[in-house]
Symmetry: C2
Subunit: 102 residues, 2 copies
């Protein structure tokens, strides 16, 4: 069952720019400079979004000299996928469980 904790993760993914970042990171492990190039956003702006993704537990940081690489945590995405699949499966049978008008 979806708990309120997941709302933070979902909200973190509900921003177009962050969703694009996640999509990019799903293909490659990138550092901030790469993400700035790919998205066209300012460095400061991007750093803020990365902080949101980091605090939501969606990405991990990996320092490499002066650079900071970001990579996704697949288990978080997989967990979300599973929970949505459960909701969808449950929703398919929900039409029959119509509670009577009060």
């Amino acid at each position: 069952m979806l708990t309120s904790v997941d709302a933070d993760v979902i909200r973190a993914l509900g921003d177009p720019l962050r969703l694009k970042i996640v999509t990019l990171l799903a293909r490659e492990t990138l550092c901030t400079t790469h993400l700035v190039e790919e998205t066209g956003a300012r460095q400061t702006n991007l750093s803020n979004h990365m902080k949101v993704l980091r605090e939501a537990g969606i990405v991990e940081t990996e320092p490499c000299g002066r650079f900071t690489y970001y990579k996704l945590k697949p288990e978080v995405l997989a967990g979300l996928s599973e929970r949505f699949a459960e909701l969808a499966a449950s929703a398919r049978t929900a039409s029959e469980n119509k509670r009577a008008c009060p």
Copy 2:
């Protein structure tokens, strides 16, 4: 691939109250009165959230006399689940694709 359109759906689900509503609707088809009882929210507030979910294409309305029943659209949730699953699968191999430092 995740498009920017999906950000709206994800954002709509990124609110704790709306997530609770969706969870409730995954089990039963309910009308506004039921949801008010279950969530404890005001009717006006709830109606606003239902509008968001409706415009995001997550729920459908079904008038029944004076009552309005809401039910989930399973295919939307299933689609989200699938996309997240793709991202997770792709992310598992992304660690190896580390782009060189610029």
